[in-house]
Symmetry: C2
Subunit: 562 residues, 2 copies
């Protein structure tokens, strides 16, 4: 580790390191570490939702072992925007870094406030860093710039370092007609480019998509077209944090003289906070409390709700299943699903849409009539970002490996030297030398930890492997009682199965008991030891069950000595 | 049930019934029953692959209780084409109907041959029904007509019944330039329309897609563009049954003087059968045995393989993971994924593509460069089918409920009377009366059964519910031994957990044992009974574990009396 000089500055020759940490498939999505000498700043601290096969896991957060071992070096967490995949890890990460401040924009601080209260994170000051503003952090100066995204007040970070400027875009799109009128700061980006950018880290989510992502404003136009001339209620399902989308629901509703009810815990909370902070504007009389929905005529009502991803416990699915306290779908309802299914959610979304149709609603959804645009820029926007900032080096981030590959190709197309484009995985540092060159460093500990129930990290791969085995073929438990002296069976074995077959038939049971008895009666050399006896029972029984059923339940032998 | 008259004909006033059976989400996909008086014909007998949450299930086949109860009425199974979702259920269904013939086209019979051999289905004759041909089946005459699809020799069925013609399209698209040159039989369809069609049942898979589905031939052009000028090997992954696609792999390879190796059990088998039957043509010298791949220069080789859906055990994923016996991905390889991910498979497909890139290959895949077209017709084709056949009634089939709704709207657009369009679910009969009118009948028993290991139907909802519970939070087993006389604990309880937490800490263990002891020491009124004692242990322990961990493992108490 570099030794700081007396004046606190790092010695000449110090290397600048960028390390994406955490995440499951996406790279650099949840957390990026930038390190120079004895100083580290961290950009974002997000979470991921579990992937297929991560049974029973609630959340996945980055493994911060690398940071924990350099605890005293961490100067700040800089938040680009308040989506869960960028801030959701804070409650699990911050307790390790007491006193380290979190910098965020006004709306992000507003939305984070609850999280911080809920998790009692009193030891980390939550400080203001607004778009256009700067903060000094040891050898770094972090300057935030406004960027378009599917939540207001989203920012990128230009980190001025002793070796040059690092531009981190955060999640972004270039929307020329944003709903709140606040443009991405093209001028600041051009300024960084003029000044010189050592390295650009840019959002690759839609690097596979040619062209431009349409403006969020086009969604408002679609809302109006769909609502035109309707007699029944309108229900719009979308993301709870997309304040611009919710604003457009209010605006379109107003066009047709409709009131708006907001339903869904997170959407109600976000709407309240965004209104208080001035990010959401509507006539006070337009908002209907959810318990007053029945007082509003059908043709004067719009309901905004959550569950656009088909989540079974969210508003839309419950309404479709007639399981919602305030709203039951009725014939004449028009439902607008203002989202595209995230890969992995298609089945759930499809099921919800089917149920809405069955309940008598007309449904506008992604496959037949789009009422959604992405919050991420497409290829032309990514090229514009590259051409504005003119980076010497480029690290595509925020995407699966194949998307980073595509983004890397775009960078090469616009003229970044191919050897200066780094397609990397989490835990792979890129090191910048004082001469401005860059190279791959030795990989650091990275990965993720599971949050399950109350614990963080307690559930590991072994537990998951067991859950997968149990899920696949269930379990077959056998308890035998043996005489401590003779080693003989005392009474018949007790057998319990779950998730194996509906009913263990008599022949299978008899065969199993026979196999168990033989395991005990023909002991190997060391069966005085219970462990070996168990192993023998387990092997014999597993083999028998597979032969008879072609299934491999988890066999659990318990030996009680009396 | 209708009583047959002396001459065997059904009496006047007999009702004609159409009943879609089986399936999970899709309607009428796997099996359609058409019934008149004492006679039934069944169109297709397919299977579905398990959905999310159907843990450990291998296959899902239609529940044929309805047919089993009318066993002697079943005249024939008519097969539209040899895809698994149309024929894969035969091995599980046919044993219930000994002697009932199965009618299929030449290629379908070829592909079915193995299945019938493997499952020893000797009691059901496999008979020829070729496109353009007819067969009499009691009161019915079934006429097969050629239709385009992603497997050669696909057919639809026109079933002439005493009350009128039923046209069942099977899976179809209208390809004006099919690879094998065999057009869909527009003229027969027009003939049915001229004659009069009582009811059309038509494929709704792509009812949400506007326009036309491109010709299969466009994929061959894409293959040639991608292979042009390459020095390295080319690996094409696609569906094992898409003989036209495999033909185009051979054709494109030939353009560049490349040999072809076919890898993957099902693709090798299908390629062999299709070649023998004349459905696949290539110069004998072009085919390379898989164990001779290494003898062919990289720029003279194309490898056709399975696994285009990212299936972890299929060719492509194994090659990407360096886990394949014959092929390991190397720098310079070009991989063409000639498929679109089926909803639910996106994560697996994405993972495989990422691994291919990491292994150094260049990959063409759906998101960046399409080398795939659907085998199902889009909206303009569906309207053409409706306008050719001019049906009086319409039942959209083969699709999720929302797709049937869209298809129903298309039918209304082209002039089918809205009251004659039936959007129905599996098990819902549509009944046709002698006056040509139609109505919904009383629902019949329908649904699906699970195939798991060697058993059919033995795994039911309870088993699946247990597997889901085990998958979510694992299990917590406690074995207590009590004195038969006193009811007192003999020794400490034995505790085994799996899939719960990595290590049960001492405090949690002590607390659990304490709770168990108290359950036993403070027995309720009837604790002489073991069942009640178990219930008490279970309740107390579940509550304790939830309080301490916020998890709900499956608690399994076992009480041994000594």
């Amino acid at each position: 580790m570099t030794i700081a000089r007396d004046n606190g500055a790092a010695p000449d020759g110090t290397i600048l390191r960028i390390i994406p940490l955490g995440g499951v498939g996406e790279i650099g999505k949840n957390m990026t570490v930038i390190e120079y000498g004895n100083d580290i700043v961290v950009i974002d601290a997000g979470l991921m939702f579990p992937e297929e096969g991560m049974f029973g896991i609630d959340l996945v957060v980055p493994d911060v072992t690398y940071l924990r071992e350099r605890k005293e070096m961490v100067r700040a967490f800089l938040i680009t925007h308040a989506h869960e995949d960028h801030v959701g890890g804070l409650p699990y990460v911050l307790p390790t870094f007491p006193g380290v401040p979190v910098y965020a924009s006004t709306l992000a601080r507003g939305l984070l406030g609850n999280k911080i209260k809920e998790h009692k994170l009193r030891n980390n000051p939550l400080l203001a860093l607004e778009a256009g503003g700067s903060v000094e952090l040891g050898p770094f100066t972090a300057t935030a710039f406004r960027i378009g995204h599917s939540i207001p007040d989203a920012m990128g970070i230009c980190l001025r370092t002793p070796l040059g400027n690092i531009v981190h875009t955060g999640d972004f799109k270039f929307d020329h007609t944003p709903v709140d009128g606040k443009l991405s700061d093209f001028h600041m980006l051009a300024g960084f480019g003029a000044e010189g950018v050592l390295c650009l880290m840019s959002d690759s989510t839609r690097a596979e998509n040619p062209g431009y992502t349409p403006s969020e404003r086009t969604v408002g136009e679609a809302f109006r077209e769909m609502m035109e001339g309707l007699d029944g209620r309108v229900i719009v399902a979308t993301f709870a944090s997309n304040i611009a989308r919710i604003q457009q629901v209010f605006d379109a509703a107003e066009t047709f003289g409709r009131s708006v009810a907001v339903i869904g815990r997170s959407m109600e909370q976000n709407t309240r906070i965004a209104s208080e902070l001035g990010y959401l504007r509507y006539p006070a009389t337009q908002l209907v409390p959810k318990d007053r929905i029945r007082d509003v005529p059908d043709d004067k009502l719009v309901i905004a709700t959550t569950g656009a991803q088909g989540e079974p416990m969210a508003g839309l699915a419950r309404m479709a299943n007639r399981d919602h306290r305030y709203v039951e779908i009725q014939a004449g309802d028009t439902v607008i699903v203002s989202a595209s299914p995230i890969p992995g959610n298609e089945e759930m979304v499809g099921r919800t849409i089917d149920n809405l149709f069955k309940a008598g609603a007309n449904v506008y959804y992604h496959a037949i009539r789009r009422a959604h645009v992405s919050g991420h820029g497409s290829q032309e926007e990514l090229k514009l970002m590259l051409n504005l900032t003119k980076p010497r080096h480029f690290i595509p981030i925020h995407g699966e490996f194949r998307m980073l590959v595509q983004h890397g190709r775009l960078a090469a197309e616009v003229g970044v030297a191919p050897e200066n484009i780094f397609i990397i995985e989490n835990g792979q540092p890129i090191e910048f030398l004082p001469d401005g060159s860059a190279r791959r460093g030795a990989r650091v500990e990275s990965g993720y930890v599971f949050v399950d129930g109350l614990s963080v990290g307690e559930v590991g791969d072994v537990v998951l492997r067991d859950r997968r085995a149990l899920a696949s073929d269930g379990m077959f438990l056998v308890v035998v009682t043996v005489d401590k002296q003779t080693g003989n069976l005392v009474g018949p074995p007790e057998i319990v199965t779950r998730g194996f077959v509906a009913e263990v038939d008599a022949a299978l049971l008899a065969g199993a008991i026979d196999r168990i008895s033989r395991s005990i009666e023909n002991p190997g050399e060391h069966t005085s030891e219970i462990g070996l006896l168990k192993a023998q029972i387990k092997d014999g029984l597993s083999q028998y069950l597979y032969e008879r059923t072609k299934r491999r339940p988890m066999v659990l032998p318990v030996v009680m000595e009396v």
